[in-house]
Amino acid sequence: MAGITLSKVNKKFGDFTAVKDLSLEIGENRVVGFLGPNGAGKTTTIRMMVGLSKPTSGEITIAGQKIVFGDASANSLFGYLPEQPAFYGWMTGEEYIDFIGQTFGFEVSKRKKRINELLALTDLRDARKKRINTYSNGMKQRLGIAQALINQPKVLIMDEPVSALDPIGRRQVLSVIESLKKDMTILLSTHILSDVDRICDDVAIINKGKLITFSPLSELKGKYSTQILEVEFSNDPASIIFELKKESWAGKVEKEGNHLKIWLKDEASVAQNKPLKFFANTQIGVLKYGLSLPEVEDLFIALTEEK
């Protein structure tokens, strides 16, 4: 049984199509990174999955049950963490989790047990009696994870769970997510690609509301494993890019300060020192010269530009 399926999901706001013919089938216990630039339709898609927004057309199922807008009956199957979740600030962290437990109809003893487990997992035990409006963003995000897990869901859906956090908060939240990997399907949207590298099995990339690719991260890396030549210069290399692109071995070129990334069309050229010879003939000094494999970020750029 699939964890999450979307079939031909569309979402229009007036004339604007935010999500177009999106179909996805996410297997059980997979961790999927849902990527895309800002405005790609990630949040819109997620909000349709959890029943906050109504698809214009198409069908969504979670853990085998169809999501019907305005009907809460499938809500016990998943956990949801929105981007920057909003709590009742006048409650304490403990009271909030307890309240959420009550909405599921859990008995007092079960709620107590779950509260203790979840506050331990999210490292909020010391703050349990404090009002939520005194929490930092990182603590709120962790409380958000705690409330999403109270029903031990089969599917966990998170919208940008770490993007609003400082590095320490990010590390804490990511390690919580990592610890959950074994026994649930997780979908998390993000634009921070190193997070995907760290925790995801699969990657779904959307741009302008359309699915660009959906495949295991390892496969994607294999497919786009073109080597990249990274060169650092003593001066700005802008003047040589035009000539560089004419070279038979050079593909896409990306410039960042005095640094160039060159996607190689012909990897053998490096062994023949062709690039090095080219740079030696320019008037700019070469400080560093080396090969690297693409990171998710490079894949992402390559894929979104390709389509």
């Binding site: 927004s53 809460a72 809500n75 016990s76 949801y80 409650m91 309240f99 009550q102 599921f104």
Partner: protein, 257 residues
């Protein structure tokens, strides 16, 4: 069913911690105590005005009727006004602060979200109102003389039905409006339209939810409660109607970011 109990608990705690209970308790107790006090003191105040030669004012001794006059006036004006202000944000503010996102993605139906808001609000108003009317009754009979408890009880019940009508109307507009201010404006506008409508068409007057505030003197004098049944029936139908409409619109609403 679980979720509605959870939601009612949460609402009651919010009303308590958000000082809404405190505000309502102070207001209604103030009305309960000030109404008989003002009735008692008004003649004294008037007498203290320097006499104008050639003009003699005959001021009758104050009675419990004056206290009831004050009570009804205060309830139908300040009481209603504060209730509307307090409850106008109860749904629109959850949308603006986005606190309802986490709740509506739990097994909490949209109907129980609305119904819990209504029940918790009504429970609070009822509690405060009952205490205030007991205080009013005891205080008034002690300083202005005794009057019919039964008739006063009916007056209280009919007033409470009217206040419940106001709460349901307020929650309805809080559901459909984008903000607390817009909800407030819509409630006041509707109240004004209703008041003008019922005042200008005399035949339908007895169906007005606020009929009791116009005819309370008769009720206190003769206890003819059947005269008030049309008004109470209309109020109850309207309360149920506004709740159903709120649920209907809320179910269709997408929760925007």
């Amino acid at each position: 069913m679980n979720s509605i109990v959870a939601m009612i608990n949460k609402e009651l705690l919010e009303i308590y911690r958000g000082k809404k209970l405190l505000i309502l308790a102070i207001l209604f107790l103030f009305i309960a105590i000030s109404s008989p006090v003002l009735a008692k003191l008004l003649p004294v105040i008037l007498k203290s005005v320097p006499a104008t030669p050639g003009l003699t004012i005959n001021i009758p001794d104050p009675t419990w009727r004056d206290a009831i006059d004050q009570l009804v006036k205060n309830l139908s004006q300040i009481g209603m006004f504060v209730l509307i202000i307090i409850f106008a944000g109860s749904i629109s503010e959850e949308k603006n602060k986005r606190t309802l996102e986490l709740v509506l993605t739990k097994p909490v139906s949209r109907a129980s979200f609305i119904v819990a808001k209504f029940l918790a609000s009504i429970l609070t108003v009822k509690l405060v109102f009952i205490i205030a009317t007991i205080v009013f009754y005891l205080y008034t009979i002690s300083i202005l003389g005794s009057f019919s408890l039964v008739n006063f009880l009916w007056l209280s019940i009919f007033s409470l039905v009217f206040l419940a009508f106001v709460v349901a109307l307020t929650l309805f507009f809080s559901t459909i409006a984008k903000s607390q201010i817009i909800a407030l404006a819509l409630v006041f506008f509707t109240e004004a339209v209703l008041a003008i409508l019922f005042a200008s068409i005399h035949r339908i007057d007895k169906y007005s939810p606020s009929y009791v505030f116009g005819k309370y003197k008769d009720l206190m004098a003769n206890g003819q409660i059947q005269d008030f049944l049309p008004s109470v029936t209309v109020s109850i139908i309207a309360i149920v109607g506004f709740l159903l409409l709120s649920i209907y619109f809320f179910r269709k609403q997408e929760i925007e970011r």
